[in-house]
Every structure is written in C-alpha cells, then in structure tokens.
C-alpha cells in the first residue's frame, strides 16, 4: 500500500456552508514541492457533471492553501480562494448550453473535492485521488421557513427567517424565463430578510385574466434592479409588454457561433416617454447592477439613460449604479458558475435558442461576489423601521 496516500490530508471549511460563504481549502502532508491538482466535481439536479481544477505546488512544509497560493493552471489561475466553485464547468462531452439553477432549495449543492498527484488536466474519473472531501453548499439556512403562497392565483413562495420578526421584506422578481425561481429568496431569508419569490409571468395569471391582478403599488423602501431595463410600454399589461418585445424581433442578432443576442430589441433607448418608466419620479433609493458585456438585455445602456433622467429630475442622489466591465447578464449570487451562453426556452412559443448572455468568467465572478455583498448592505441600510418592502428584479 502506498504510504504516501495515507498521509495527505485535505480539508475544506466549512463543510456545510451557505452558497455565498467563503471556503478554506487546505492540503497538508503532501511531499514538499510536489505537484498537486485540486479537483472539484458536482452533479447538478438534471444529472450533468460539472468540474473545476487547479494546479498547485506544495510548499516546503508540504502544504497548499488555496486562499493564499497561486494556481499555475486549470480552470482558473492565480490566487483564487473560491475558484474551485465559480470556475465549475460542464465536463468534456456534455451537451452544450447547460446552466446550473437550483430547483429544490432543501437539497444542498454537493461538491466532491479531491487532490491528485501531478498537474492533471483530464481523465480524473480514472485516477485514484490522494484524498477526498465532500462539501455541501446550501441555499437555505436551518430554521428558515418555506411557505408556498397561492392567494390571488399567484405563484409565489415566501421564505421567513427564524426569529420573532418583523423582518424587512423583499419581493424577488425573476425574468423572462418564467417558472418560479426560489433560490435567491431562500438565500436572502438566510441573511435575515423575509423574501417572497414571485413568478409574475405565471401562465395562469396571464391567460385567465389577460392582465395583472390588482395593479396596486407598494410603498417601496428601496429597489434593486439586476440586469434590468426601464424600457417598456408604461401602463402596459404583461401581455402588452411582451408584445412590444415581439414587435422588435427583427432586431435579433446572431453571432459567429449562432448564439442569439437580444439586447437590440430595446435599442436604441426610446425618447418617447410612453415607452419607458419615468425614473425622475422615483422616490426611493435605487440600486442598478449591470454587466457591461450584457448581450441579452440593454442593461448598461438603460442604466446610462436612467442616470441621465434622474440627473435631469434632480433625484439622482437616490441612485447607486454598480457597473461591471466584462460581466454578462446573469449576475447570480456569488461563487456560482458564470453562464455565458445557455439553451433557453422562450415563453411564447416555447422555441429553444442558444442565448448569448455575455460576460467573461473571471470578471463576471468578481461582479457576482462584489454586487451581492453591496446588495446586502444596501438592503440592510434601507430596510429597517417604518415601511419594509424592497423589490430586486432580474430581467
């Protein structure tokens, strides 16, 4: 039996963390100066395998500390404490256009982290690792309650943090993909907010009523828009808004890989005030988070226009703009893999497209980490006492 194999120690802490928590990956008792590959493997809910790996050299004590040491190659390079998670990508041979989206928040993301001898780039399943540790990444903290909401023919889920309340509340709206996406609301509840994940594009609502149910407004304490745009027929129903996008279908572009670029559907930003929300009238603090390489929606151009409108109206002191070069459309909670393109099923006719969301992995991952942190600070700052609602929306 290889004595060395018993010796190498791999530890990852915390072994059961929340998705937005940092991990510390440590290899010890390796041969000093030896080449090692640290590998992460995850099988997502739809059965596909994702992997990340990085090449390190153990130091004089036989240690590799991923938070401090440089990766010399792999799916990321340099000093990247969380690289094993955000650089996860479908394993070779996977079908194209995959995207990682958690459906069941009660089941954690399970990641198998292994250490291999040498600087490996492929063939991991056929090799025996020196050590393995299994990691759980949770979208929901213990004690958070999940309450399905079905009043008013809505499709929504409420997540309540433990404790007496009242908790500041957040309504979490997702974008044109339809379907109820709960994981961000679950994560927000794990950070102390009461969060309502709302699917406003529920076919039931639009088909049966043809327009929104009860167009009452909330008095908002603040709003966060991620990759959003203010361009839409003002006072329009959902059906009318979707129709507006549809009429501009001809502006759909395809890049050299035949990937769909939809941002032009709303460009140029209209000057007609009936076609965009009057941001000069907004009365609550607003945070805009945009990726400058967003190829799906003109979030960046819209942000510039919004800033302009608010400056002219004199309420731009309410605006916080986070703009990230080389980040794309899908700005997710941190340490989740970046999706540059994926297979997307359109709501209307259910056709599938390979959509270009944009973004470069490294800068996009930094944007996810930075924006999440700032978003939480922004929400906490504006959500205590008095009225307690906020709307982050993601288009």
């Amino acid at each position: 039996m290889d004595r060395n194999q018993t010796c190498v120690k791999l530890s990852v802490e915390p072994s059961r963390g929340l998705v937005d928590e940092k991990i510390l990956v440590l290899v010890q008792n390796g041969f000093p100066g030896s080449q090692l590959t640290i590998h992460a493997l995850h099988q997502c809910e739809d059965g596909h395998h994702w992997e990340a790996f990085a090449h390190y050299n153990a130091d004089a004590t036989g240690t590799v500390n991923v938070s401090q040491d440089r990766s010399s190659g792999g799916t990321y390079s340099g000093v990247e404490p969380m690289g094993l998670l955000w650089s996860l990508r479908p394993v070779p041979g996977s079908k194209p256009g995959l995207r990682m989206r958690r459906k069941d928040v009660w089941v954690p993301m399970v990641v198998r982290v292994s250490v291999y001898r040498g600087h490996q780039i492929e063939g991991f399943p056929d090799q025996t690792p020196l050590a393995i540790v299994v990691l759980e990444r949770w979208y929901i903290a213990p004690g958070v309650q999940r309450i399905p909401v079905t009043e008013d023919r809505l499709t929504a889920t409420l997540f309540l943090p433990p404790g007496p309340g009242p908790s500041p509340g957040i309504i979490d709206l997702w974008g044109g993909g339809g379907q109820l996406v709960e994981y961000r609301a679950a994560l927000l509840a794990s950070r102390g907010f009461a969060a309502l994940a709302l699917d406003f594009l529920t076919p039931k609502v639009t088909i049966e009523t043809g327009k929104a149910v009860g167009n009452d407004y909330f008095e908002l304490s603040c709003a966060v828009s991620i990759s959003g745009s203010h361009v839409q027929p003002v006072d329009g129903s959902i059906a009318e808004i979707l129709n507006y996008f549809d009429t501009n279908r001809a502006k759909t572009r395809f890049n050299e890989n035949n990937e769909v670029i939809w941002k032009d559907l709303l460009l140029p930003i209209p000057t007609d005030p009936s076609l965009k929300v009057d941001m000069g009238r907004i009365q609550c603090p607003l945070m805009l988070i945009v990726g400058e390489d967003d190829q799906n929606w003109p979030a960046c151009e819209s942000a510039a226009d919004i800033k302009d409108m608010m400056e002219r109206a004199g309420n731009n002191h309410l605006l916080t703009l986070l703009s990230y070069p080389h980040a794309g459309h899908l700005i997710e909670p941190p340490y989740l893999p970046h999706t540059r393109t994926s297979l997307f099923k359109s709501l209307g006719k259910g056709e599938k497209y390979m959509v270009l969301w944009g973004g470069q992995m490294l800068e996009h991952s930094r944007a996810q980490e930075d924006s999440w942190r700032k978003l939480l600070v922004f929400l906490r700052e504006h959500l205590y006492g008095g009225s307690t609602s906020a709307v982050p929306s993601h288009l």
């Binding site: 039996m1 194999q5 018993t6 072994s15 393995i132 299994v134 903290a141 213990p142 929306s393």
Partner: protein, 464 residues
C-alpha cells in the same frame, strides 16, 4: 422595471409583521414552547443575529454575532434545543452591546448566566436540562446521522429566560453535526463483532481507530463519527450491555479473542491501511485499550486512554478478560451525604488485584493518557502516576504523553458538549445517582484542548 402587482395589504401582513408559527424542526421533534412574547420590537432597527457557520461539525467553533442592537445596552443570548428523548436543554449568557450596538461572542465577555468571561462556545457546552426536566440526564446522540438543532435568541436586558415575559429581538437556528458530508456509516455484525464503522469519503486507504467507551454499555458512535469526519476510519465497538452480545447482563462476556477479531477486521479492510491503526478508550474502555495494545498480540500504532483504570475493576472470570458483574463487589463504592455514589476508589491501583493489571512495561507504541483532575468516576491521577513510573523504570518514558486538566471530570468527550457532573446510574432496586466530577468551564476547556491534542497525536502517529 416591472411593478409588483399584488394585493398590497395581504403581502404586507405576511412580511411586515410576522405572525409566528411554531418552529418547524426535523421530523418528530416537538415544537418549542412559545413562552416568548412576540411583538414588534421597541427598537427602531431590525436586530440581526448571525451564526457562522450555521451548520457546523460538533468540534467546530461557531461565531455568533448580534448587530443593529441599541448601543451600550444589556442583552441576553439564549440557546435551547431538544435532545432525542425530547428533553429541553438550555443555556443563556448576559452581554453588553458596544457603542455600535453589536456583540460578538468570539471576543466579548459574558457577565452572567450559564458561563462568564470570553467563551465563544459557552452556549453549547453550557447547555443544561431546563428546570422541570427529568433528573440525572446526560446528553447523548444516538442517531449520529442527523444533527442537533439549536435555536439561539437575543433577548432584551439581562434576564433569566424563565423569568416571566421576555422580548425576543432576533434569532438564528444552528445545526451541529457529528458526521461530515460524504461520510459513511456501516453497521458491523460479522464474525461476532458488534460495532459501527465510519469511513471518510473516498477510496482510502485510511488510517483507522478502534473506539471503546465505558461501563455505560451499548454502542456509542459519536466519537467515531467525528474521527471519520477528520479523515480516520473508526470502529465503535460494543463489548457490554448490548442486545447483540452474548451472555448475562452486567457482565463482560467477550474476551481477548473478540477484541483481536475487531482489530483484524480493521486490518483486513480494503479501505484501511493495516499498518496505521490506533486504539482509544474512555473509563473502562481505557483499561481495554491498554489490554488490547499490550497484551493480546496485536500491534496498534498508538493508544489513547482517557480517565481509566490500569486493570480490570471487575473480577476476571478467566484469562481472556471476561468479567463478572461490575456491581457484585461494592466495597470500594463511596457515597456522599446525598446518597450519590462515586466509583473513584474502585480503580485505585492499590484496590486492583495484581493479576488484573495490564503490564504497562511491555508497551511498544506511543501512549497518551488524559487525566481529569476532578474525576470522581476513576482514580485517574493515581493511575497516570503509576503508568508514568512504570514506564520510566522500563526506560520507555519517550512513549508516554500525559495530559492533565484541573477541574475536569470523568467524561472528557469531544469539545463543546456539556459535561454532566452527575447522572442517573440505575433505578433498581432504588434510584441511584452517580457523580463524575468536573466543573463546567474547566471541563469544557479540557475537552477542547484534549481533542486538539488527540488529533495532533493521531496525525503524528497515524499519518506520518
């Protein structure tokens, strides 16, 4: 930006002012007593209580912080949990927020409650049965595959949580696990062996431990589960008081061949490195550790003994180590003025017949002996002295490591678990309580320090 098109009042009711359903816990646990008054806090800010990590291994520290509290104000942190038997355990501590309205249990000092001073994990090791619970309880997890769920609250003022109405400001729920993700638990009933094997994730080969408890009997898995979470395969072995073991109750009916089989089981296991196996035991299990390590013809790489005798405290039936009923000879049992029994003197070396003693001078591998200086369940100090002297005379001092903890009692367990100074020993012919010693803070410190040293000791002897 899309508007939110919902009925405003309905949702505001839900998220503005929460009606508080009882907590929804794992499976069959009863819900918490809703003795706390839930009303809108008189403080403008929304206090926040965080624990990091919220899901921790039992030997991991959890960092508890409170924020957005009134500055320079008294605050009580209160922890409560239900054991598997449904008993309520609780602890609390008094803190004062700083000028920013924050507290941090990793650095702040408790000024009263279940513990005082800077004790980051005090809420956990300071847990005790709530008033009105059954007497003589010990906190033991039988099912190590599920976590303990502990609910922690911030309460206004310096109060005792039981004293009338309290105002809960914030709360967080934590889970504490004995097993790591990917770890495997395998019941072993083969070749007469009764035990549970815990394996870390992966193909191995892993260094391994044989893990023995004391005369409480049965099969205690929690230490093995934790050792496996630290990368060691570990076999919890039953030898007494288990339905799958042969013979009359209250006697040890398995002998040397049984322990040999258990050791060989580990050696022969395809995922275990047969050259790197250690043995550990507490109380009577510590004597068995010595016997296995020195006397029965197997060669472990190291031994760890905690608060145990140097020889069998029960009369030996034969050469193979089987014993008679432990309670048949009570002449060394001592009773305090409340009728509680201490077994300390039973294991005094001078009270153990020579033929029952293990010949420690024949030791061939490193041995760590851990002493709780307030141990009222065994004569650990005297035993350690005798071992040290014997090994010195045999020129084997280099093999001996002694850890000694003032104020620590008999059950030196993995860290952050509460100590029970006394517990229920038996109910027939009448209720009998036994005292084990140990004062909360020094015992907690002993558990934390000894566990670190145990892991370092295993690292040196089983990995290098």
């Amino acid at each position: 930006m899309f508007r939110a098109f919902l009925t405003a009042t309905k949702i505001q009711t839900r998220i503005g002012i929460k009606e508080k359903p009882c907590l929804n816990l794992h499976g069959n646990l009863p819900s918490f007593q809703c003795a706390l008054v839930r009303r809108k806090s008189s403080i403008r800010q929304a206090p926040l209580l965080t624990a990091s990590p919220v899901r921790a291994l039992m030997d991991e520290q959890i960092c508890i912080k409170g924020r957005f509290l009134p500055p320079l104000s008294p605050i009580t942190v209160y922890a409560q949990m239900h054991s598997e038997d449904g008993d309520l355990w609780e602890s609390f501590a008094h803190y004062n927020t700083n000028s920013s309205g924050s507290i941090n249990l990793t650095s702040d000092h408790s000024v009263g409650g279940s513990y005082v001073g800077c004790e980051p994990m005090g809420l956990f090791w300071g847990l005790h049965p709530a008033p009105g619970q059954r007497e003589g309880l010990r906190l033991r997890k039988n099912n190590v595959e599920s976590p303990y769920t502990i609910h922690i609250s911030l309460l206004e003022g310096h109060i005792s949580p039981r004293a009338g109405q309290v105002t809960e400001l914030a709360a967080v729920t934590t889970e504490r696990w004995y097993m790591a993700p990917g770890e495997r638990r395998i019941e072993i009933r083969q070749n007469g062996i009764v035990g549970t094997l815990f394996l870390p994730p992966g193909p191995g080969p892993f260094p391994a431990m044989l893990d023995l408890f004391g005369m409480v009997g049965g099969l205690l898995e929690h230490r093995s589960a934790l050792l496996a979470s630290r990368g060691y395969a570990s076999l919890s072995l039953a030898y007494f008081g288990h339905k799958d073991l042969p013979g009359p109750e209250k006697c040890i009916n398995v002998g040397d061949s049984y322990f040999k089989k258990a050791f060989h089981f580990l050696q022969d296991h395809s995922q275990i490195d047969g050259d790197r196996i250690g043995v550990t035991g507490v109380s009577f299990g510590a004597y068995l550790t010595l016997r296995i390590g020195i006397q029965i013809g197997v060669k472990p790489s190291c031994l760890i003994c905690i608060n145990g005798p140097i020889g069998s405290v029960s009369k030996l039936v034969d050469e193979s180590g089987r014993t008679e009923n432990f309670e048949s000879d009570q002449k060394h049992w001592t009773f305090d003025d409340q009728g509680r029994v201490s077994f300390r003197k039973v294991s005094l070396p001078s009270n153990i017949p020579a033929k029952n003693k293990v010949k420690v001078e024949n030791l061939t591998c490193p041995l760590m002996y851990i002493v709780g200086e307030d141990d009222l369940g065994a004569s650990s100090l005297e035993t350690a002295d005798l071992m040290e002297e014997t090994l010195r005379s045999a020129g084997k001092s280099h093999l001996f490591t002694r850890l000694s903890y003032p104020g620590a009692g008999h059950f030196i367990e993995p860290p952050y678990a509460p100590n029970e100074r006394m517990s229920l020993w038996s109910i027939k012919p009448q209720k009998l309580m036994s005292i084990w010693g140990g004062h909360p803070a020094p015992h907690a410190a002993a558990q934390e320090d000894s566990w670190k040293k145990i892991l370092d000791f295993l690292e040196s002897n089983l990995r290098r």
